[in-house]
Amino acid sequence: VSRTAAAAPVTPPPAPFPARIATTRFGDLVVDESRVLRFPEGLPGFPAETEWVLVPHAADGASPFVWLQSARRADLAFLLMPPALAFPDYAPPLPPDVDGAAASGASLWVVVTVPAGDPRAMTANLLGPIVLEEGARRGRQVVLGDDRYTTRHPVFPSGAAVAGAAGA
C-alpha cells in the first residue's frame, strides 16, 4: 500500500466557489467551480496555485491563444498557444502517466512569453508544456528531460528573439 498524501501543508481554507476575482487583465471574473482546472502540483515557481480557469484571448473566439488565469491570484495569468501554430514538428515524448492522459483527449499547450513592448521577440517554452484534461478538469505543467528543447524558442525565428534564446 503506497501512501501518497503525506503531510499536507496547512493553508487557510480558500474562498468557496463561485469566487469573484478582480483580475488585472480581464476585469471582474466570476469563477464557477465547474470551470476550475485543478493543477495538483501547482506550476513550477507557483506551487500554491492549484486552481485555474481558461479565459479566451478574444471574445469572438478568433484567437488561437488562450489565457490560463489563476482562480485565486488576480494578477497571475499565462498566455498559452497550441504548439502546432509555430512548431509543427513539436511532439515531445511525455512521461507515461501523462501520455495516458494525452491518449484520452488531453490537449497540449505551450506557455508564451511576450516581452513588454516587443511582441516580435516572443518566445515559447517548449521545455515545460502544459497538458490540459478538460474533461477531468485537470492540468499540469510537464517538465521534460529532453535537451532538444529550451524554455525560450523564438516564435518568429528571423526576429530579434534570437538574442534572448537560451541555446539551440
Binding site: 501512501r3 515557481g45 495569468a77 499565462f78 511582441p119 516572443m122 521545455l127 517538465v143 537560451a166
Partner: protein, 82 residues
C-alpha cells in the same frame, strides 16, 4: 546537508516510498535510479529552475503585448486578412 558514501548498486531510502540507487559511476558522471510514487515529481534541478524562471517571466506578459503578438502571428499563418 547529510552526506553519505555509496557504491554502485547501493541505495538510499528517503521516507517510506522513495529509493535512490547508484547504478553506475563512470568518470565524472553518475547514473542514478529513482523509485518514487507518481505523485512525487522528480526533476533535474537545473531544468526545473529554468522552467520556474521562465514561468516568472511569462507571467509578466500583458494583454496589449499578447494582442500585438497575435497580429504578428496571423499573417505568418495565412489566417484571416484583417
Amino acid at each position: 546537508v547529510l552526506v553519505l558514501t555509496r557504491r554502485p548498486n547501493q541505495s538510499i531510502r528517503i521516507g517510506e516510498d522513495v529509493t535512490i540507487t547508484v547504478i553506475e559511476v563512470r568518470g565524472d558522471q553518475v547514473r542514478i535510479g529513482i523509485e518514487a510514487p507518481r505523485s512525487t515529481p522528480v526533476h533535474r534541478a537545473e531544468v526545473l529552475a529554468q522552467v520556474q524562471q521562465e514561468n516568472a517571466a511569462a507571467a509578466q506578459s500583458s494583454m496589449r503585448d499578447a494582442l500585438a503578438a497575435l497580429d504578428l502571428l496571423r499573417p505568418a499563418q495565412g489566417g484571416d486578412p484583417s
